[in-house]
């Protein structure tokens, strides 16, 4: 059964059609790529799925349930976790605390337990810090557990966002440009980590990414959008060759030129590391 399905989803901002009827289906256990030029509507699709935006048309179905228009906290509780294009960590919390926060919806110890510090409180805390430690291990952040999140290098902050999202025990993980700002070595490690999530933790992953070597090596199915509309979908080999995809990325240039420029253009300049949010 399809895990996440968008059927004819639309989102309009003022007069601008950010998404104009996109349909896609993500199967359980898939690593699914969502690509397209800048401003194509990829992040908007993530925002509609996670409830940040309410769709203006169409339906979002997750795990057999219509979740269109649900509030973000409810969507998160239902099993969809995500990371952000521009990193959104809890900057003055430590690395470990960042991960722990995402345990909010499953914590059992109420205010009273915290006050009297009973068994339930300690069990809760122990369980959450054990899980946080596991996740930090996967992403090689264990040694940094006590550091403030803001002090981490850019690539580590991206990995911390993924670790935090996993604390929700999601079924589906949406990664918004996880390789942005990473060097090629970090990007290769990221590919391994994404495979690990699917193979060992049984997660389904949807990935928005501009780094084509990451997309092509990890994704099994790729969906290409441009100007808010689907222009192609298929396995990486097909997408690599697809004339519409090449045209969307490269404009009206000749195909020979297109292939030549491919590597250069597939890493647009905005990927360079930015200063994290102030």
């Amino acid at each position: 059964m399809t895990l996440l399905a968008l059927s004819a989803v639309e989102k309009v901002f003022g007069g601008l059609r950010a998404i104009g009827g996109v349909s896609l289906a993500v199967e359980p256990g898939q690593i699914f790529g969502l690509i397209g030029p800048n401003g194509a509507g990829k992040t908007t699709i993530f925002n509609v799925v996670t409830g940040v935006y309410r769709p203006d048309g169409g339906r979002v179905t997750f795990d057999g349930e219509d979740i269109s228009g649900w509030l973000p906290a409810k969507v998160a509780a239902r099993g969809i976790a995500r990371t952000f294009q521009n990193i959104r960590l809890f900057r003055s919390m430590t690395v470990e605390q960042n991960v722990m926060v995402a345990g909010f919806r499953i914590h059992k110890a109420g205010l009273l337990s915290a006050i009297v510090r009973n068994r339930r409180y300690h069990d809760d805390e122990r369980e959450f810090s054990r899980r946080a430690a596991e996740l930090l291990d996967i992403f090689k952040l264990r040694e940094l557990a006590g550091e403030p999140a803001a002090s981490l290098p850019y690539g580590s902050q991206r990995r911390l966002e993924i670790a935090r999202a996993l604390m929700l025990s999601p079924k589906l993980l949406l990664l918004d440009e996880p390789a942005a700002g990473m060097n090629s070595q970090e990007a290769r490690a990221l590919v391994e980590q994404i495979r690990f999530l699917r193979d060992e933790l049984g997660l389904t992953v949807v990935l928005v990414e501009h780094n084509m070597s990451v997309v092509m090596s990890v994704c099994e199915q790729i969906h290409v959008v441009d100007h808010g509309e689907t222009i192609a979908e298929g396995p990486p080999e097909q997408i690599r060759e697809h004339p519409k995809v090449l045209a969307a990325y490269l404009g009206e240039e000749s195909e020979a030129q297109a292939v030549k420029d491919y590597e250069a253009v597939s890493r647009p300049s905005h990927e360079r590391p930015e200063e994290p949010d102030a």
Binding site: T50, V52, L71, P72, A73, V75, A76, A77, A81, R82, F84, R88, L89, F90, R91, S92, M93, Q97, M100, V101, A102, F104, R105, H107, A109, G110, L111, A114, I115, R164, A165, M167, L168, E275, D277, A278
Partner: protein
């Protein structure tokens, strides 16, 4: 020397009241980036709730018969006032601020000023503008330490305020409610996508801040003997300056700022002239805004270009 110690003791006692109120400003600013001007009226309503609760519990009869008010009843008065103010704070947020969650930042700010005026005038209508003598929840006992007079009231004010602040620290740093509050204040978008309901968390923040203001109101009544419906204006403004001084949005900063404002007010009143006790607070505000606008414990924010 004994005069100095005397002023410091009085200053810490007064400052701890400012600190309790400043915490509400700073917590709400933390989660909503809004200066809740109605907070000074929540403080005033807290004081009046305590006044009516004590009256209802028969404090006058006890007082006239020369008996003192039992401690557990004083605690009941405190809890009643905190509950009334918490409810009021949450109601204000629900009715006046939540519908404006996505409005430009100036809109809720103007609404906050309107809410403050509305509540103050309702206060004059319901409680009458006449000052009321605050019921003697505590009977004053004076201790003389070599010329330094310490009353049990000053000590109680300081102790109650400190206990509440320790409780708040515990709540913010050691409970899931506090974890959610910190997450929302650092990044609302990320918090809600991590399964935290921002509306509930913001509601709780208003409730906690308002309850602290109510405690401040009762302590203020104990200290100043009289209360009136406009008592929130000046005291609330000073507490707001305290929050800015400590670094708005910073919880330990609000506590520190409150104590510093109380101390400077008492020292100026004692050594220069009581006429300048209000002016010093606003002088501090001007100086801090010029020299260190982010406050003592505030973090310098880098503008993203």
């Amino acid at each position: 020397m004994s005069q100095f110690i005397q002023q410091v003791i009085n200053g810490l006692s007064l400052g701890s009241i400012y600190a309790l109120i400043a915490l509400g400003y700073t917590m709400v600013y933390g989660v909503l980036k809004l200066i809740n001007f109605a907070h000074s009226e929540v403080f005033m309503v807290g004081a009046y709730s305590g006044f009516y609760a004590a009256t209802f519990l028969g404090i006058d009869a006890l007082d006239q018969s020369g008996q003192s008010f039992p401690l557990y009843l004083a605690l009941v008065v405190l809890i009643v006032a905190m509950l009334v103010s918490a409810t009021l704070g949450m109601t204000i947020e629900r009715l006046a601020y939540r519908p404006l969650r996505n409005a430009p930042r100036l809109t809720p700010l103007i609404t906050a000023i309107g809410m403050s005026l509305l509540l103050q005038n309702l206060g004059m209508l319901i409680f009458t503008p006449n000052p009321r003598r605050y019921p003697p929840i505590l009977r004053e006992v004076r201790f003389d330490f070599g010329g330094v007079i310490v009353t049990n009231i000053k000590l109680t004010i300081f102790a109650v305020a400190m206990a509440l602040m320790v409780g708040l620290w515990f709540l913010v740093n050691r409970t899931w409610t506090g974890r959610a509050m910190r997450a929302v204040s650092m990044n609302l978008d990320a918090a809600r996508l991590m399964g935290i309901d921002p509306d509930r968390t913001i509601g709780k923040t208003f409730a906690i801040g308002s309850a602290l203001a109510a405690a401040g109101g009762i302590l203020f009544g104990l200290d100043q003997i009289t209360i009136n419906p406009t008592m929130g204006t000046l005291t609330g403004l000073k507490a707001f300056v305290a929050a800015v001084l400590g670094g708005i949005g910073n919880i330990p900063g609000a506590a520190l700022g409150g104590l510093l404002i109380g101390l400077s007010e008492q020292l100026v009143a004692g050594y220069i002239s009581p006429d300048y006790r209000d002016a010093i607070t606003f002088l501090i505000l001007i100086v801090i805004l010029i020299l260190r606008p982010e406050g003592i414990l505030g973090v310098v924010r880098q503008e993203k270009v």
